[in-house]
Symmetry: C2
Subunit: 223 residues, 2 copies
Amino acid sequence: MTQSREEDRRGRSAAAAIVDAAFRLFHEFGYDETSVDDIAAAAGVSRSSFFRLFGSKEMVIFPEHDAILAAVEERLAASTQKSAILAVSDAVRVVLFHYIAEGPHARRRYQLTSTVPALRERELISGARYQQLFRQYISAWGDGSEESERRAELMAAAVVASHNHVLRRWLREECEDPHLEIDEAMAQVNALFAPDPVAAPRAIVVVRTDQDLDAVAEQLRSL
Amino acid sequence: MTQSREEDRRGRSAAAAIVDAAFRLFHEFGYDETSVDDIAAAAGVSRSSFFRLFGSKEMVIFPEHDAILAAVEERLAASTQKSAILAVSDAVRVVLFHYIAEGPHARRRYQLTSTVPALRERELISGARYQQLFRQYISAWGDGSEESERRAELMAAAVVASHNHVLRRWLREECEDPHLEIDEAMAQVNALFAPDPVAAPRAIVVVRTDQDLDAVAEQLRSL
DNA sequence: CAATGGATGATACTCAGTTTCATGACGGAG
DNA sequence: CTCCGTCATGAAACTGAGTATCATCCATTG
């Protein structure tokens, strides 16, 4: 199962060497100007090994994406309708803190995704995958009505957008305490989309609004 | 400026012939199994002309995207802070009704984007471009505060998600009246994100919530 | 020592996309 | 009518990503 000490070490260092070489070359010469052959040569592996390990040139930048997605799904799958909002918030935190744990590497990646359209697009697709996953689970927790589906769609979008906002702030070093900010952001989303509790405690909430009464009524119906 | 009758006709029919041939071949043999050479040959043009007219294989599916994006931007640019929400709603309608006006062709495209990962990804990227555009304008209408930025991000995501929801329902023919549904969806978004009016009419809104009082307090502060 | 299996590397191939150059049709100017 | 500039088209060569195949090497196992 686990291979010999020697092979294991080499396997890991090969992947690490490729990532290091790729980021170095991308930084020095640019993404488009760096070919896979260049990376493989600089990392001391064959072109074949590059594609065997990473599948594509873009995936050198996001190698752990599938693992994070799986972790998110695991968290979501381990929850029920009752703990739905908590599950989503937790899952978002899983993603955010994964990036934060990467530290400077995440910022180097951001520097690339900010400047290389192809990588920015790849990142957007990753985000959409999270959103799709969230939507799917939130939708399953609902009652299947059109209303519920629409809410699931909006909530998934809001959750991902909030996450991206906090993550981007952290990547730009505009963010003092990402824990605090993600808590606030999730609280904001939860507040917006809090479901109708069947027998929950009630409160009188007074807010100012510029909506006319009909719009307010419709909004309330949609809660 | 306008070319001769002959060239004009041929130019337009070339693009149309390519699109027709592409959709036909994609449907018959699949997207990945159809090469650009196949399409060009079937359309009776050269490979060169294909790339000159469409730029990439994927763009045969979304040739009008740039034009729609420009139309959206035009609508957004023509508005001020006062008419912001209206502008966003209008811009979303521009997009939705463009697709609806395509009729069966939009549904053929949907059939492709639903089954071909590369095309689905391209579509996601297009959606993200709209979202980015909305975010940019909504953000500019705000006061530049962190709060305002976060709201812009969420609102753009919600607007695009709502649009996508209605569009997808229409594409699946689950939607009786897209005009009505987009109006409802935009009303829902507007209601969620209605800005804090400085001197707006006020109302007492009573909602049930499962939040404890501290969470409610924080939610209210974040409005 | 021999056999097996998994990881690696070399090579050739397909195809998307770019670049360059030739051609040919058209319209205007003499 | 002819010459000329322009623009659309086509032809061909090239780069580079990604795939498939096969040979090789090395560590474990019997």
